[in-house]
């Protein structure tokens, strides 16, 4: 079973201070650490688990700058067989749609039974690339997948809906799944795997190799801004004892205890 996994290197912003840079359209990235997008790491792990079961090859592909090769190499160390970087520096501004078109053009000569992507990237949060790519390739898709049971020809997948509900689908292969976090437990790369992966070649594709002339951008960032406050929070200050005391009094006043 051959699987393509699309991954993205993203700044880790969940617990970091995020500041807008001088262009107003980008954030200051030099202080942030970067890593594989969270749901992409689950997508990769799911592919590795299937490879362990069925054999076959995993190709990881990422549209990114030079440092993306570090992330691709980690993917190789975690079980991918081949890695492709598409040079983001050749393609100006990107959105989910444009990214999907570029990836489509880049994998035209690859065989695959499944394509996995993460279900959302934590930076631009589009949730577009996977489903768009499936449509461009004219293959069935399932998004937000949290369970896969596949044979050579068809896959039973569970999609995560709202309210704790899941949807069980039966899809034919080749197909594309966007993978939700929690589907598995992504592994760490062992040192031996790292050493082997460090020597592997990463195929780099640029504009010359991607012949599609009609790649379109749907959207462009005009500006970034700090979200307006919908509610004014009252911060309770002081030592943990003081702030907790104030809060307990508020509970009392409001009749909550």
């Amino acid at each position: 079973m051959d699987i393509i996994v699309c991954i993205k290197r993203v700044p880790q912003t969940a617990e970091a201070d995020v500041t807008i840079d001088y262009t107003g359209k980008e954030i200051e990235k030099d202080r942030l650490s970067f890593d594989m997008n969270e749901s992409d790491s689950y997508a990769l792990e799911e592919a590795v688990l299937l490879k362990e079961k069925f054999g076959g090859e995993i190709t990881v592909i990422s549209l990114g700058h030079q440092d993306t090769e570090d992330t691709l190499r980690i993917a190789l160390a975690k079980g991918a067989d081949n890695a492709i970087r598409i040079k983001a520096e050749d393609f100006d501004e990107l959105d989910g749609y444009k990214t999907a078109q570029i990836i489509k053009a880049s994998i035209s000569d690859l065989n695959f039974d499944l394509i996995f992507t993460g279900c959302i990237a934590t930076d631009d949060a589009y949730s577009q690339v996977g489903v768009t790519l499936a449509e461009l390739l004219d293959i069935p898709h399932a998004s937000l997948v949290i369970f896969i049971d596949t044979s050579e020809k068809r896959a039973h997948v569970h999609r995560e809906l709202e309210g704790g509900l899941m949807e069980h689908l039966d899809i034919s292969l080749p197909a594309l799944c966007t993978i939700q976090t929690g589907i598995n437990e992504p592994r760490y790369a062992s040192l031996i795997a790292i050493r082997r992966a460090a020597k592997k070649e990463i195929k780099v594709l640029g504009k010359e190799e991607i012949k599609d002339e009609n790649i379109l951008l749907n959207t462009q960032i005009e500006e970034l801004f700090i979200p307006p406050k919908t509610k004014e929070v009252e911060f309770l200050t002081g030592s943990p004892g003081e702030s907790a005391g104030k809060l307990a009094n508020i509970f009392k006043e409001k009749g909550l205890i």
Partner: protein, 322 residues
């Protein structure tokens, strides 16, 4: 006259809240662009559904067929691509839900019309569209210009438009369809999360824990506090992903929606997926080390300090005052 379409989302015979929000959003856009608002219902035995949204749009377009009883993006796409191609509405809206995320990019790509996802707001000035979206873990908003085109497709985030009453005169039209469920993607069944011993939707006081709790052993501290204040422990997604609490304790768009009297977010950063499940709480408290965490935008009271220091003291203070 141009048209705004909204796709009505329903599941297991019920119209979902997002559909009413989309109708609100659609009416605003229709007014602004001097358009008609059409609500699209794909379903089976749709009388009840149609009745629920009557007077909310200028027109309700019904495609009633057994094949649309349960949502399947592929059969929906087959029907909708025809309709949109023919009618060429200015804007088609759907929810940024498990449904809309699965459908919108594929449908728009097939129709070759520009689209974007997870819009908080959509603004039209002289037929030019800009949308507002959230980026970088919800820490920033982005104003996005969309490529010029006669027709657009957007998914709208839940909770961004208020469902409102309306008294439009509604025309109802039916469209026949020959769509059958494609073999390459078949809906099999819905699977419910098994119910656990605690129903977090029934408690007046809910303490939600998130990534900040760091490890499973620390759950005990929060459980003790919950016992002291007479509440139950719920959580955000990472806690369920790590298997520290069962799925039925998860609050948020893929978990449960709760409306307790008091919600205390402990070590939760406040991703919108979580917020959408708890913002109906009467009083919201956030305890998080990071004073810039988005959760404080939702809270009435906040303590920007180490939860491991605050929670045990808070438990003591609550016991004293009880």
């Amino acid at each position: 006259m141009s048209e705004i379409y909204t796709l009505i989302e329903h599941r297991q015979g019920e119209i979902r809240d997002i559909s009413f929000e989309l109708l609100s959003c659609g009416r605003k856009l229709a007014e602004k662009t001097n358009s008609n608002l059409t609500a699209l219902i794909l379903g089976h035995n749709t009388e009840n559904l149609v009745g629920k949204i009557k007077s909310q749009a200028h027109r309700i377009l019904v495609i009633d067929s057994e094949v649309f009883k349960d949502y399947n993006s592929e059969s929906y796409q087959l029907a909708l691509s025809d309709i949109i191609k023919k009618a060429n509405p200015f804007i088609t809206l759907m929810g940024h839900t498990a449904f809309g995320m699965d459908l919108c990019p594929a449908l728009a790509t097939q129709l070759e019309i520009p689209f974007t996802t997870d819009c908080l707001d959509i603004d039209v000035v002289d037929n030019k569209i800009t949308v507002t979206r959230q980026v970088y873990d919800g820490k920033l908003n982005a104003k996005i210009a969309v490529r010029d085109n006669p027709s657009y497709l957007f998914t709208v985030r839940a909770g961004c438009f208020l469902a409102e009453e309306s008294d439009l005169k509604t025309e109802i039209a039916n469209i026949d369809t020959s769509v059958t469920e494609p073999d390459y993607r078949k809906f099999v069944e819905y699977i419910e999360t098994p119910a656990g011993d605690v129903d977090i939707t029934k408690s007046d006081v809910v303490i939600g824990i998130g990534r900040g709790i760091k490890e499973q052993e620390n759950l005990a501290m929060v459980e003790e506090f919950a016992d002291a204040i007479g509440g139950v422990v719920a959580c955000s997604r990472p806690i369920v992903d790590a298997d520290w609490l069962p799925k039925d304790r998860q609050v948020g768009s893929s978990g449960k929606t709760i409306k307790p009297k008091l919600y205390i977010a402990v070590g939760i950063s406040g991703a919108f997926q979580h917020v959408s499940g708890m913002k109906g709480a009467e009083t919201i408290i956030a305890i998080n080390k990071d004073p810039n965490a988005p959760i404080f935008n939702e809270a009435d009271y906040g303590i920007a300090d180490d939860l491991f220091k605050v929670v045990p003291v808070l438990k003591e203070k609550v016991m004293e005052l009880k």
